[in-house]
Symmetry: C2
Subunit: 86 residues, 2 copies
């Protein structure tokens, strides 16, 4: 599955559109963020995406977890949030 | 219901313990955070609480939303995350 990577500079509306699009296509989206600014943008985008999907009768919830990812040969802890219908 | 308020300086283990305790007692916890640092601590605490509860066979998911709150007569947008069994 494609992971939607969010940074502190990501525009929430763009990320929200991506999340809603992936949910419509494959029922489940994965969002990944590293760092407080990125996690905040991710959560805001999920709330906005929830609004888009609710207008279509789709109710989603989130399942957050930690994942280790390698960036430039460095191990980092990312927050991965699975968004799925409830 | 009591809302668990999280700040950027909250210790994640303490918040996680509070979330798990409220879920055990009343099946549902509400976590509130304002600002990127606080939202990040809240999500990390929820992931840790998830681990505690999974050990007891309880699987939880999150439902985040925006809420307007008044702090020192100022209107602020908070992220409220409902944590509930799945």
């Amino acid at each position: 599955m494609n992971v939607i990577k969010v940074s502190a500079r990501s525009r929430t509306a763009a990320v929200a559109g991506a999340i809603a699009g992936v949910i419509r296509e494959s029922q489940r989206a994965e969002v990944q963020a590293i760092g407080a600014g990125a996690v905040n943008q991710a959560i805001k985008a999920i709330v906005i995406a929830k609004g888009y999907l609710e207008d279509e009768g789709v109710h989603v919830v989130c399942d957050p977890s930690f994942v280790e990812v390698e960036i430039d040969t460095q191990e980092r802890t990312a927050v991965r949030i699975v968004v799925m219908p409830h």
